[in-house]
């Protein structure tokens, strides 16, 4: 005997009972099995995926800090320089470590000044190479496109809202890039890097991302954001009021 007590995409709060019974698969640490009940532990939206045998329960949290995961793309800020490594703030409860040999791509000679390469306050784009409960996260920049960030605008949103800015199969992100002609890099830790052709489009992109952050829990968001961007473009004289086509 098992039954679901909420619908797909329902909003839940800590202590809300999602389901009763034991034949559910739980795919998130934010749902907890207490007795024979499945209970939500944070504010979020429930996702229910059914196939023939199992029902998979998930929860997209709406609040909460960034918790590192191996393979995540993050945008970090250097906070300290060690002897052979940098300490990087990635908005997690732990500071991340970037080894000098990894950044330089060759064995590092400790007689060199590390601040020659990266100084405190520098922004880097990196991936999480290693992380477990016992150790601080280790970063790597040994991949295409990673490394020191030298231009662009950095904005911060709540890390829990990142999935909405990216969208399902990157739908939101590609729409944003297409409509604003900005190059957008979204870090999993809630930092976003924008490279835009002009200040007007940059302003529109920032407003749109902030709007997504505020309204992350609502439905039909991609369409609303698209309308919002077109509205803003008309207001700023980037396109005529005739419609979405015929951009300057």
């Amino acid at each position: 005997m098992s039954k679901l007590l909420v619908e797909n995409r329902a909003m839940v709060f800590p202590g809300d009972v999602i389901a009763e019974g034991n034949n559910f698969e739980i795919a998130t640490p934010y749902l907890k099995r207490i007795g024979n009940r499945v209970v939500a532990t944070v504010i979020g939206l429930v996702t229910i995926e059914k196939d023939d045998r199992t029902t998979k329960l998930g929860l997209i949290p709406l609040e909460g800090c960034y918790y590192p995961k191996v393979g995540d793309l993050v945008i970090g800020i250097v906070i300290d320089i060690g002897v052979t490594s940098w300490l990087v703030d990635i908005r997690a409860p732990f500071p991340a470590v970037l080894n000098a040999s990894d950044y330089l791509g060759k064995p590092y000679n400790p007689s060199e000044e590390l601040s020659k390469y990266l100084n405190i306050g520098d922004v880097i784009l990196a991936k999480i190479a290693q992380f477990d409960r016992g150790r601080d996260p280790l970063l790597t920049v040994q991949e295409k496109g990673l490394g020191k960030v030298v231009e662009g605008v950095l904005i911060e949103i709540k890390p829990s809202r990142v999935p909405r800015v990216v969208g399902r199969r990157k739908s939101m992100l590609s729409m944003l890039q297409e409509e604003t002609r900005c190059q957008i890099v979204v870090g999993n830790n809630g930092r976003i890097l924008l490279r835009c052709p002009d200040p007007e489009r940059e302003a529109i992109a920032i407003l749109a991302i902030k709007k997504i952050e505020r309204e992350a829990h609502t439905q039909g968001l991609t369409e609303r954001i698209k309308e919002f961007i077109i509205e803003q473009k008309i207001k700023r004289g980037l396109i005529g009021s005739g419609g979405g086509k015929g951009e300057t």
Partner: protein, 245 residues
Amino acid sequence: MGVAAEKEKPKLIDEKGLRVDGRRPDELRPIDMEVGVLKNADGSALVKYGNTWVLAAVYGPREAVPKHMTLPDRAVLRCRYRMLSFSTHERKSPAPSRREIELSKVIREALEPAVLTELYPRTTIDIFIEVLNAHGGTRTAGVTAAALALADAGIPMRDLVAGVAVGKVDGIIVLDINENEDMYGEADMPVAAMPGLGRITLLQLNGVLTPEEFRVALKLALQGIKRIYDMQKEVLRHKYAVVEE
């Protein structure tokens, strides 16, 4: 307390069976809650039980300072309860009193069973509870506010925790006692619980109750807690409903 206790005890229940502020024995004070009131905090809440106003702020999970306080397998919960110097009739010294240190511990222990600390090893979660205006029941209002602030910060919890104090005044068991009833009443019993799980996380008793009175008082408190718990859920829901418009 010394000066006040010398004053003559007022009548706490009138001929109609109503209390000093006109409430029935099983009636809560007007309760008002708000979440996300502080911009800098990860989570925050302002809770008002009548004239008792309590503000709670939560930071974390974050890197602990000093580092030796951390635990390798779970987060450390730190809690500070404080009464502002203007929160009482007579100015309260801002130095942490014995009472505040004890209540900080009691409130922490009321919240610890709810928080899933094992998800965030080597970190701390800081809870600050500031009493803005004290009029009885500050520790239970503090627990209610802290639970809301934790939820607002997105910290995983088994259930929300809510608290309320019951007491015995002029021989009658009453719910949510205020300052006068606390001062002149015969007993005062703060209770906090996780109603969804049916667990009590805080239970204290000042004064004397018979076993029968205790059972009645506890039942009354749990009924009150259930109502406050529903309000907590409602206020969290409301925060997101407002954005949707």
